[in-house]
């Protein structure tokens, strides 16, 4: 008899996790695609079908005719060996180099994988004191190197110039500067930690005493810098010791996401989130913010408040701690805030010396001054915050000084070295660019992109990528690292150090110089000025140019023991009062006067990564929006305005207005609008050009990111946004498990008893397959004696949902980008899906009647404002009894004897049965030849413009030469018509096994050393949430992780026996907080 299987009914009175408001409301557009792996409209349309049929016949006809000829011709291929041997190079093996990604906040230590001289993948440097996982931006930076639309030639007012001409223009500017002893020269630097860069700026100042130096970053923390200088002292850098902080309160500081705080890596924070035994200690995170951030998602207690009220909240905390200067500001607090803050502060006081308060870097000086006073009262300085004395940087002005200097008319040449784009992201950029033109200032812009500034500058110099230039940088604790080139500049770009050297007259830019420097391995030739400059700096940092020390530094990626010394002075709390007194208390936003919060975007940051396709396609961790930005509006306001998802709104604030699509954001405070910055750039290339809306136009003052008094007008048009939250659904099945510390302490194995898990019969699987451990009773099981058995554990307590794993996987496994149009059709190819669920705490047990339907028991908009947010990364679960395998008609997906669900791409014929049968929707189908046919461009066919993918044989079928260089040679580049999915980085597993064979030779020790194979996602994870290894090796970390009482399998009751399992999330609520009883109410109330 046919067995009909039903998933167990979701208990109607339990807490439910949902991904979108459409799911919650059971809207028709959601229901239509529910449960379809390839939603309606996702498959080919009638027209497409007809076209593809014709195409098929055409090609078949041709190929039958050619068959006779083709089969007797063997394509002639050549082997081209090196003529001179390259040191360390073994053809077919990758080489790893340590280097550093210089960033405004400090260095990100990296290890770069290179194949025959091509950097293909970056990971964090595990040796570095602050090493470990890295964020999405660093992970995706390798793609920027190969961006075919990078700026490649110098431009003069938008027209291409020769390098000789560019050098002449620079020489002319230098000559002029010499005459005026620098008064005619202005240099705008970005925030930097590079000692060489700072030293050369100093030398510039020495050579031309009148030169004006400015520092500009589009989203720099001016308020923070000012407050720190006053309170902590000049050059003093706070260093956050996340691992020592057991109580953290964040005031709109997304320190786990895009607003990193200088300090210990995120893994130091997540270390205290996981708990395997009752005795272990767990940290607690309080968050106040206007929108959901990754940090808010990790919070134990979170309260959405308007960003305008953050100063008030800071003052309230300070006055709770007895700071009298904050009293006046604190008194303006709205109702309800104090009730929330008081118990939180009590908790912080109870944990004096282990507590810390953080503030978002873009808030004003008063917030940061108050936070310094709070941290001082909490005894944080010296315990959770270390004060370090950094080396003095030359005095630099801000943007206001820059504006003044330009309008003063003395500056004739302005050199922009900042990674921000002055004509695009500066406060009132339009007026600034006009001012520069009016005053006849020649702008020399150095950058990697042909952005607005590049196109309008008098001279644009293409910048070198950090993987192709010499440089240096300091990590957050001051540890000195060298940036070493992996490859000669692809387009002759010049690094910023080289431009400074050119200004000092010590170097000419461009290819002539590059040709004089043949790529001798090991040491660059002495005449490379940038190399010499870095070595000079190294000599002063390391105390003498010791060749051995230099080589060790290059090998390890950092100079041991070069961290900043501790600052001697104590914080000057007396200065706080003066700063706070200057602050104007902001009123809470109202229905008629909304606030606009400008934030950095998770894909493009401040706009600098606009042309990176991996980042564009990696869904925003909170909204799941790809390829665009949108106004995030809280449910209350969204519904009050009567908006539809993606509907355009016109936002007017301070005389400027923008039109932007709006999306409903659960967990967002009402009357507040969050606008991610960085979009709406034109002419930067097909990836980023013209996408999204430029929100910078609303900003008129430097350093302001919270704008009050905004008006919103609803427009009738609806934008087509590519949001992935309703794609590849788990159909609302209970896949996420979490509990409070109390639940855990009551029963540590609570996660294993949730739902049906406590009472499923043995061997219920209806998918036959090899399962379990091979033994006498189970002769068909997996061999744990003579084989490896791979498995993975993902700790939901640690996972912050940052999507670095998605990009790492994309980089390692040659996963193509499909473009916005294809994402809309649900054809995104990323093997890892970061599922983001919301849950409403109040809406649960005993709140609704048993018989109620979804439609009736919908939570109110007010409840949605307080929704909880959780993340669950999901890739192929490597089921032992895999449903996909039983339905494959051609055995293209089969099991290996080390427990992998293998995928033989060359065997797949594309029936997609496997994807339809996968309960985890973890399989992806190549609808088109995404690798060969650029999905982002349009093609003209018979006078009509169609998407390149749809142009059939008439479309452009050529891979960009430069993008091809990024491919991992150890992974097949898949073609159209095959299914693909995660295979636990099988190429890494196999090469580890082979390496072991090389070592063991004629002995029988086959097992690879414990925990030496790491998957790409695991390596990239900044939270250490992913553990992978050999289940048959008792010493391995994965065996220990699987032994955790929190371990559970997704959809265990269907008996697929996945090799990937999850550790349930724990939250650590404070009983005295309002609403604590509702937090993480356990997803099953039946237990």
């Amino acid at each position: 008899m046919k067995r009909i299987w039903k998933h167990p009914e979701e208990p109607q009175n339990a807490k439910r996790y949902w991904r979108s408001v459409a799911e919650l409301d059971r809207r028709e557009d959601f229901l239509k695609n529910l449960g379809r792996e390839f939603p309606e409209g996702d498959t080919l349309t009638e027209d497409e079908r007809e076209n593809s049929r014709r195409e098929f016949l055409k090609i078949m006809g041709a190929s039958v005719g050619m068959m006779g000829l083709a089969s007797c011709r063997r394509p002639l291929t050549n082997i081209l060996p090196y003529t001179q041997h390259v040191e360390w190079m073994v053809p077919g093996k990758s080489l790893l180099y340590a280097t550093t990604m210089p960033r405004s906040g400090g260095a990100t230590p990296l290890v770069v994988t290179t194949h025959e001289g091509r950097p293909t993948h970056v990971t964090g440097n595990p040796l570095h004191p602050l090493g470990g996982g890295i964020d999405t931006f660093a992970q995706a930076s390798v793609l920027d190197l190969y961006d075919p639309e990078r700026s490649q030639k110098p431009l003069g007012a938008g027209k291409e110039l020769s390098w000789a001409k560019a050098n002449d223009l620079i020489a002319a500017a230098v000559a002029e500067a010499k005459k005026s002893s620098g008064a005619s020269l202005g240099v705008v630097a970005g925030a930097t930690t590079s000692p060489t860069y700072l030293r050369l700026l100093g030398e510039l100042k020495a050579a031309y005493p009148q030169v004006k130096l400015f520092q500009y970053e589009a989203v720099g923390g001016e308020g923070q810098t000012a407050a720190n200088k006053e309170v902590l002292g000049a050059g003093v850098k706070p260093f956050l010791k996340l691992g020592s902080a057991m109580r953290i309160l964040s005031l709109d500081c997304d320190f786990l996401g895009v607003d990193p705080v200088a300090g210990e890596p995120i893994s130091a924070f997540t270390k205290h989130r996981a708990k395997e035994a009752k005795t272990a200690d767990m940290n607690r995170l309080y968050v106040l913010e206007n929108r959901y951030t990754l940090t808010g998602g990790m919070a134990d207690h979170r309260k959405p408040i308007a960003a305008s009220l953050i100063p008030v909240a800071a003052a309230l905390i300070a006055s709770e701690l007895g700071d009298a200067s904050a009293k006046a500001l604190a008194d303006t607090a709205p109702a309800g805030l104090k009730e929330w803050i008081a118990p939180a502060v009590r908790d912080l006081i109870d944990n004096k010396g282990k507590a810390v308060v953080l503030a978002g870097s873009r808030h004003g000086a008063e917030v940061h001054a108050l936070v310094a006073s709070i941290n001082n009262a909490l005894g944080a300085f010296g315990s959770t915050i270390e004060l370090l004395q950094s080396t003095q940087a030359p005095e630099m002005g801000g943007f206001a000084e820059l504006q003044a200097a330009v309008s003063g008319g003395q500056i004739k040449t302005l050199v922009s070295l900042t990674p921000s784009s002055l004509y695009y992201d500066a406060p009132d950029a339009e007026a600034f660019s006009k001012l520069v033109a009016e005053k006849g200032v020649k702008l020399i812009h150095v950058g990697t992109q042909k952005n607005r500034t590049a196109r309008h500058a008098a001279l644009h110099i293409p910048a070198a990528h950090y993987l192709e230039s010499w440089g240096d940088a300091c990590a957050a604790d001051g540890t000195y690292s060298i940036v070493q080139p992996m490859i000669a500049p692809l387009y002759d770009g010049a690094s910023k150090i080289e431009v400074l050297l050119a200004l000092l007259g010590r170097k000419k830019l461009g290819p002539a110089e590059a040709a004089a420097a043949p790529a001798a391995a090991g040491a660059a030739p002495a005449e490379d000025a940038a190399y010499t400059a870095v070595r000079d700096t190294f000599a002063s940092v390391a105390g003498g140019l010791d060749e051995k020390k230099w080589n060790f530094t290059l090998r390890d990626g950092f100079l041991k023991g070069s961290a900043f010394a501790k600052a001697s002075a104590a914080p000057n709390v007396a200065a706080v009062a003066a700063i706070v007194a200057k602050a104007k208390p902001a009123a809470a936003p109202t229905d008629d006067s909304l606030e606009v919060v400008l934030t950095v975007d998770s894909s493009v940051y401040d706009g600098r990564y606009i042309n990176n396709a991996w980042l564009q396609e990696a869904p925003d961790p909170v909204t799941k929006l790809t390829w665009d930005n949108a106004a995030w509006i809280g449910s209350v306001t969204f519904r009050r305005l009567g908006l539809k998802e993606g509907q355009h709104v016109k936002i007017t604030v301070g005389g400027a207005e923008i039109e932007i699509p709006a999306i409903e954001a659960p967990g967002h405070v009402s009357n507040s609008i969050t606008l991610p910055l960085g979009y709406g750039q034109k002419g930067v290339g097909v990836v980023g050009g013209g996408r999204g809306v430029n929100a910078y136009v609303l900003r008129k003052q430097p350093g302001t990111f919270v704008l009050s008094g905004a008006k919103v007008e609803v427009l009738p048009t609806i934008a087509e946004l590519a949001i992935t939250q309703d794609q590849n659904t788990m159909e609302g099945r209970a896949v996420y498990r979490e509990g409070t510390l109390d639940t855990f302490n009551k029963d540590v194995t609570f996660a294993q008893k949730t739902g049906m898990d406590g009472h499923i019969p043995e061997n219920i699987s209806f998918y036959k397959g090899q399962v379990g451990v091979k033994s006498k009773e189970n002769p068909d099981g997996f061999d744990y004696e003579t084989k490896h058995q791979w498995g993975m554990v993902i700790d939901l307590s640690k996972c912050i949902g940052c999507t670095a794993c998605i990009v790492a996987c994309q980089s390692e496994n040659n996963i193509p980008v499909v473009g916005k149009d294809q994402v809309r059709k649900g054809r995104v190819m990323q093997w890892i899906r970061m599922d983001r669920y919301f849950a409403v705490p109040k809406w649960g047990k005993n709140e609704v009647a048993q018989e109620s339907t979804y439609a009736v028991d919908n939570p109110t908009p007010e409840q949605l404002e307080n929704a909880e947010m959780v993340h669950q990364p999901l890739a192929c679960q490597q089921c032992e009894a895999a449903p996909c395998e039983t339905v494959c008609p051609v055995n293209a997906t089969v099991h290996t004897d080390d427990g992998l669900n293998a995928m033989a791409y060359n065997r797949c014929i594309g029936t997609r049965y496997c994807a339809n049968n996968c309960p985890y929707t973890a399989r992806r189908f190549n609808w088109f030849d995404y690798n060969k046919r650029n999905p982002l461009i349009d093609t003209k066919v018979l006078g009509m413009t169609v998407g390149n993918l749809y142009a059939g044989p008439l479309g452009e079928k050529k891979e960009d030469e430069s993008l091809r260089l990024q491919r991992n040679p150890n992974v097949t580049v898949r073609m159209r018509g095959v299914i693909e999915k995660c295979t636990y980085c099988v190429q890494r597993i196999e090469s580890a096994k082979i390496l072991q064979k090389q070592v063991q030779r004629d002995s029988k020790n086959f097992r690879v050393p414990t925990d030496t194979v790491k998957t790409a996602c695991q390596q990239s994870c900044p939270a250490d949430a992913i553990v992978f290894g050999d289940l048959a090796d008792k010493k391995s970390a994965v065996v220990k992780a699987k032994a955790s009482p929190r371990d559970y399998q997704l959809l265990k009751y269907i008996g697929t026996r996945p090799r990937t399992s999850y550790l349930a999330r724990l939250r650590n609520p404070n009983k005295n907080m309002p609403g604590a009883e509702n937090i993480a109410v356990w997803s099953n109330n039946q237990f």
Binding site: I79, P81, D897, T972
Partner: protein, 268 residues
């Protein structure tokens, strides 16, 4: 009305049917033979840009394969040597052997210009096949098993079909090709040339219990305590000469050779 069709046409359908059967059989046999790598690949012998003779270098002179293909034990690829390797013997100021020979013209030129010599690929695995040389060489599979007697070839010829079925034949029964590691690059090696006493002594020296070796020779229940007993046992089982099966079986067992038959072993 007359008969439209002549009488012989009555048998036409049957004749056609029989013909179709024969044709179909012929086509299948043809495809099975001519369309397989065994036919299409074996014997491929392209002319190389430099008339390098493996017969002279590896055969007459007895150069070890690894002198030129130096990374074959470390890497997936067996590297084609750089000009520097050639010039170790032929280079001016080095060995200077026949450095004026017109055959070396291209090598000398490549050294000057830095442009690679475009060697023609003989053995080509498809893009989706990830063959690894080091995994085979370090585990007792010789060059000769896949490439034939290169030391006797003037111009390198495709010797084995190198099809998936051919790979799997060996992965299923590796005994036929396993040999002690010191003979991996000895293309003339035959199991019969081994001295039985040395071979078994070698195994015993690696601390492999004699009992286990005996079991591998003559099945379960066989016992032996020392070398002499083993030798007697082997002679009884395999005859006077050392055989390939004998060597292969011992190596497979004691080195724990488990050639993977998974898809992921070669396809990633």
């Amino acid at each position: 009305m007359g008969n439209f069709f002549p009488r012989w046409s009555n048998w036409l359908p049957l004749k056609l049917a029989i013909a179709v059967v024969f044709i179909a059989f012929g086509v299948s046999v043809g495809v099975a033979y001519y369309f397989t790598p065994k036919y299409t690949r074996v014997g491929y012998e392209p002319t190389q840009p430099v008339p390098f003779s493996h017969k002279i270098h590896a055969g007459q002179l007895g150069l070890d394969c690894r002198y030129c293909h130096s990374f074959v034990e470390n890497s997936s690829h067996s590297n084609v040597p750089t000009n520097q390797t050639c010039f170790n013997c032929h280079g001016p100021g080095k060995g200077n052997i026949r450095s004026n020979s017109p055959k070396l013209e291209m090598v000398v030129k490549a050294n000057e210009t830095g442009a690679s010599i475009p060697w023609v690929k003989v053995h080509k695995a498809p893009d989706y096949v990830y063959f690894n040389h080091s995994a085979h060489l370090n585990r007792g599979i010789s060059c000769v098993s896949c490439h034939g007697k290169i030391n006797e070839m003037e111009v390198v010829r495709h010797d084995q079909p190198q099809s998936m079925g051919w790979c799997l034949d060996c992965h299923r029964n590796p005994e036929k090709n396993l040999r002690p590691l010191e003979f991996v690059t000895n293309l003339n090696y035959k199991a019969g040339d081994l001295t039985r006493a040395d071979f078994y002594k070698g195994l015993l020296d690696k601390k492999i219990p004699a009992g286990e070796i005996a079991t591998a020779i003559a099945g379960k229940g066989t016992k032996a305590d020392n070398l002499d007993q083993l030798l007697a046992l082997a002679e009884k089982t395999y005859g006077k000469q050392v055989t390939q099966t004998e060597v292969g079986t011992q190596i497979k067992k004691h080195w724990q050779i488990q050639p993977p038959e998974n898809c992921t072993a070669c396809h990633r």
